[in-house]
Symmetry: C2
Subunit: 738 residues, 2 copies
């Protein structure tokens, strides 16, 4: 029980009167809410989740499939039975599916890739292959190409810097890249920018396979024949239907001609298994790669180019299909126009037991429990919308089209968007808007970990402490409020957070149920319940965390947004960026000096190909003062609001709209430089990392990409945004104090 | 030429008058010495080295073989032809050679290890296998055992700590360990201490094989059938003949009965190839190992124990053989009783082109050139002794027996011992006594790198700078005098330095000619001249460095020992040890607190075997003041001596004996705790690392091994030693000043 006691006191400033109250609730409200949550918990059932998973993950059910539509109908019928107003929101979206996939090694030896995953007798569900989409990368263009292979490691920018030092050019070649270290779509994007004519992606067993542990069915890790499918649509430019950026893809929506869609790849790309990759990589020549590029196949890895030469032929059916989002609404008791949205997608690349069904069944448990509360007269104060999205896998399409379609009303009514996208066993992981950091910290103090009996926060802190390797990490692990991560992309929160400016979060458990089945035929119920969350204990725990978050947001008298957490995290990002600039400056200066002094020539082996790096323009000093000043104002305002909160003043109801729309102030209609769809100026997926987040992306990416002239404008934009939100927070403080 | 200019000024304090002089020479002496060195250089010949290598590495020539004796005779005849007094110093030593070697997997599947290396058509010399010793570990005991396998990673202390956390005990089992991270003999030593009944060593391709690059004959790296032979005698206890510790193994020497020899292994041990290891490791079960334990074989590595069960049968011929050291003496002109000794061994495990012949032929070039100088009337001032040692491979036996045999006269006459043991291409590497650090720094300023035309010092500094990853490393790389490494063990300097207290150094080039042939059948002339030092350019460069060092030591009016470099390095070690204690204290306290707080239980997966670490006794604070005070005195005395040197005072000849015997003051007759043979208190091979050096070993190992009660006594011992040498240095300063 020790942890619970610590936890109660760890919230905010530890004033006992406040600490006992839930954020946004007074004493009576807190007591009532706690009672409600107990009742909520009692309705959660691992058996339910198992039943639903068995049904929803029985067979492949991608968007556009018969099974996908059946799943949507089944989910809708359950929501209806639980007392929701349910809509099947249909969008007409472009979905390429494979017609021809051929890959052959034509020289110096011959080999035809199987491009097929094995059915396993130990898991009969892997033989259920009606409507199975074979391994492919959605939104690759068609192509029929032949060329020499170049091994590009993970195919990320630093890899091309090293290739250049080896004098290796991918122009006119086919790049073969390992999955990992970036979102997959970055790999063909960069390869194309560098002049490659095609890209092959494969899962190296060192990252994902026998190198990590026993492979399925003997363990959770990737089978030798398994292939990670996935979209390569250029989501860092815009996600969603490629033909209707910024608009809902309703049947009648105006559409771009396919030739104008900017988010298709520029070159064909195909994912293959380790088994198909081995003969290709074995046939390569050229210099051996450096140790940090090596994978775990039993060969010496070589850069090429060639002598391995492959022919790759890809043709897709460019068809329009229907995506069905299941939208279930529970009207709020006292504030029906304030919406708390909770979503998880329902489409899977294959059976999709882990991704997405393990998260979806947690959401369904929550919805069922909320429905039961409502039936017994305990309807939520605000409206709760449960969403089961379709077409997330090909590019966050279902959620994006719905968010674009309903953009205006969402901007007006949406309090927050809470996402899950699969689940596993272990430690709680929360990413999201930092105005909700302390809110989530409190939620994680109130949920018990099923394996240890400690709170999920205590377990998470223990993990951080035990794994911390330096004083900085230990200090972070000992922070009263545990940090939540900033969100990049990779799931359905993106349109809400980054396009519409709706405070969002993404929640899951993980770290103890390894993920070797991701986007393969082996993501089955048997895999999931054997290796990841047997008994779905963590499915129920996820329901408790996400359910508490949903219900507290729906019922709090004062919405539990606060700004000290926001200011503290933005200060951290600002510091990181200043350090980034300083480090780049120092490194550039040093490198240029070493080049002038001829040190690389002396340090490098004159008998080898590796040459010195190229000289770079020195990094100028930037004026960070506007950002620092604005941040200081935000910190002051946030502290004042925090103090007002502590005083326990009774809020006027009118304050809530100003609270939940504060996230909108972090966006700008013009969007980010070169990608206007992304409007949030604190969080964005990296243009060259994909899912990986870039905080203060305008400033950070301008520096990273050495676009020095743009930096000062980006600093000014962020400063203005921070000024706006500081002003809003000051107003809120006055309203709260009055 | 820029580097040469910088280099001239980088020596010592950059007073131009002194900087132009070679250390220990006045202006006229420096000029004469420089002229002599030019003449010396002109006699060096890569063609000579190639001829000798071809002959000496034509076939396997281990100690006790016919070929080994022929090589010794051939070397002796050459030395004689160059004008040396040559002696074939014979010792009768115990050498076990394999009679029976059997290794079988008996469960759950069956496999018989081949224990044989392939002859390769691409390198016909690998078919020259008369007298070939098959793969074995010399000084393993006999045994016929059967047991389950446990995978112990590198078999070093930290690996057993992790095994313990997994609840895995090697008691009654056979440990299988990767080569690497420690000297090989540590692995069976530790396994035996932990209760294992046998040890198998293998070379994982991730460390040594296709994981590093193309394998022989397509590249330099380890062939799949290759096995690293090598001694497992407990050399950190004492090296040399196991039956005659501390005494020369002359025919009549008193010998221990074999049962009393403490340096044999306690359990049988056998080295195998990656090819033989694969079926064994594939058959293992139990938990998968953590990522940092993985090798590069295409399997998931498991801890065991079992189900893989092996039978291993080893029987050796425990025979006494003759080791022949070739000792070639060139009497000194003015100080025949002061000896500069220069050695490299001649025995090889197999053909031994790289190890040891590539170093030996450099030594022979030097000896030939010195002989030619002598013939033209330029005999060295002091006596030079060239030594080609036998029986280095089984345990530094030839050199140790000679050093023990002549201990008294060596202590009286030996100025320094300069060792090489093979060579390669790339950057100069010097380890040795720090009284010679500045001396070697100057030598490396005066030798030109054959590939770049810069000095070998400039190349080495460039390498350090370009590869430095932090400010500390950059500061070290920019140090005026480049540091030389402290010496552990692993070659023939050990008896001279660590048993007799003779200032020593070990010199080689490397970093650009990878070593995949070490102690295998593939260490052939073809391998060496294809992949390591084609044209033997670096063989000649090594001759220039070691030759200059030898000749300057032989000819300097004032021996070039100095003590600021020594004091500075000892200060560094003292700081390291204080940090070691502080870090251990902090880690122990933290770990114990986490254990008390139950954090490990929360952070670890309750469904997995890995448990929390054990609590440790808190680390007390130690009184380092005696060490710090003594060090301060040494620093003061060293600075005063340095100043006296700068003044350019003419030395009295009598000072030289006090200079070269100063290293003797760093030893104590009682030796190190538990291993009296090792008498040097600044440098020793680690008791649990083997070759790896431990500086201030008494203090450091007491702390590392948590033997806290011993620390203060060890600090006092080192303090007394530093006091003694400080006093000697003060005396030297007075003598120099007078």
């Amino acid at each position: 029980m020790r942890f619970v006691l610590i936890a109660l006191c760890a919230f905010a400033t530890c004033s006992p009167a406040i600490a006992d109250n839930l954020p946004g609730f007074d004493a009576a409200g807190s007591a009532a809410q706690r009672e409600l949550e107990e009742e909520f918990d009692a309705s959660l059932s691992a058996a339910d989740q198992r039943t639903w998973m068995r049904r929803l993950a029985a067979k492949p059910h991608h968007v556009g499939s018969k099974a996908g539509k059946e799943n949507a109908d089944y989910i809708a019928s359950l929501f209806e039975s639980w007392g929701y107003d349910v809509e099947l929101a249909e969008y007409r979206i472009l979905l390429p599916t494979p017609a021809t996939r051929e890959l052959e090694l034509v020289a110096p030896t011959q080999f035809t890739a199987s491009l097929t995953e094995d059915s396993l007798p130990e898991d009969p569900s892997t033989a259920v292959r009606d409507e199975l989409l074979p391994p492919y990368n959605a939104f690759s263009i068609d192509g029929d190409i032949e060329g020499e292979l170049v091994f590009v490691n993970y195919g990320i920018p630093e890899d091309y810097e090293l290739l250049e030092r080896y004098g290796i050019d991918v122009k006119g070649k086919i790049a073969i890249a390992k999955y990992g270290r970036s979102w997959r779509g970055i790999k063909p994007k960069l390869a194309a920018e560098k002049g490659a004519i095609g890209t092959i992606l494969y899962s190296d067993p060192g990252d994902d396979g026998y190198g990590r542990g026993d492979v399925y069915p003997n363990g959770p890790f990737k089978h030798a024949s398994a292939v990670q499918r996935g979209s390569v649509m250029d989501m860092p430019t815009y996600p969603g239907d490629v033909l209707t950026p910024g608009r809902g893809a309703t049947a009648k929506a105006r559409r771009l001609p396919l030739t104008k869609a900017t988010t298709l790849t520029r070159i064909p790309v195909l994912p293959i298994s380790q088994r198909d990759a081995l003969p290709l990589l074995s046939a390569m020549g050229g210099d051996a790669v450096p140790p940090e590029w090596r994978g775990a196949l039993p060969i010496t890895y070589h850069f090429g180019p060639g002598p391995a030469r492959v022919r790759m032929k890809l043709k897709f059916n460019w068809e329009t299909v229907s995506a069905y989002n299941v939208i279930a609404r529970m009207e709020g008791e006292h504030s029906p126009d304030q919406w708390v949205i909770r979503g998880n997608h329902h489409d899977g690349w294959n059976h999709g037991a882990a991704d997405p069904i393990s998260g979806l069944v947690a959401l369904m448990s929550e919805a069922k429990a909320v429905g039961m509360l409502a039936k017994s007269g305990k309807r939520p104060g605000r409206t709760i919308i449960y969403a089961a999205w379709d077409a997330e896998e090909p590019g966050l399409i279902g959620s994006t089209e719905w968010a674009e379609h309903h953009a205006d009303s969402l901007k007006e009514h949406a309090v927050a968007y809470l996402n899950t996208d699969g689940n596993s066993r272990g430690f709680v992981r929360i990413g999201g808007s930092h105005t909700l950091e302390r809110f989530f910290d409190r939620v994680t103090q109130d949920v018990i970990d099923p394996q240890t009996g400690a709170t999920v926060k205590a377990r998470r802190r223990a993990q951080l402490l035990v794994n911390a390797s330096n004083d900085g990490e230990r200090k972070e692990a000992n922070r009263d409020t545990l940090r939540i991560s900033p969100l990049g992309s990779g799931s359905d929160y993106t349109p809400f957070l980054q396009h519409l400016g709706i405070a969002s979060a993404n929640i899951s458990f993980g770290g103890e149920g390894p993920d070797g089945s991701y986007h393969t035929l082996y993501d089955t119920e048997q895999h999931f319940t054997t290796w990841r969350d047997p008994g779905l204990e963590y499915g129920v725990t996820l329901s408790k965390v996400a359910g508490r978050a949903t219900l507290r947001l729906a019922n709090a008298a004062l919405l539990p947004f606060e700004f000290e957490g926001l200011a503290d995290n933005v200060a951290l990002y600002a510091k990181e960026i200043e350090k980034l600039a300083a480090d780049m400056r120092e490194q550039t200066t040093r490198r240029n000096r070493y080049l002038d002094d001829g040190l690389f020539k002396l340090a490098l082996d004159p008998k080898k190909t590796l040459g010195p790096p190229v000289a770079e323009t020195p990094v100028p000093f930037f004026n960070f003062a506007p950002l620092q000043n604005a941040l200081q104002d935000l910190q002051t305002a946030a502290a004042a609001y925090g103090k007002a909160l502590e005083s326990g003043a009774t809020p006027s109801q009118s304050i809530n709209e100003l609270l939940y729309t504060s996230e909108r102030l972090l966006t700008r209609d013009a969007g980010l430089n070169g990608r206007p769809w992304y409007r949030h100026h604190l969080y964005a997926p990296g243009f060259y990392t994909g899912y990986g987040v870039k905080t203060l992306p305008g400033v950070r990416e301008a520096i990273e990409q050495r676009d020095y002239d743009a930096v000062s404008h980006e600093i000014d934009t962020v400063a203005k945004i921070l000024n706006d939100i500081a002003m809003r927070v000051s107003n809120l403080e006055k309203l709260l104090g009055s």
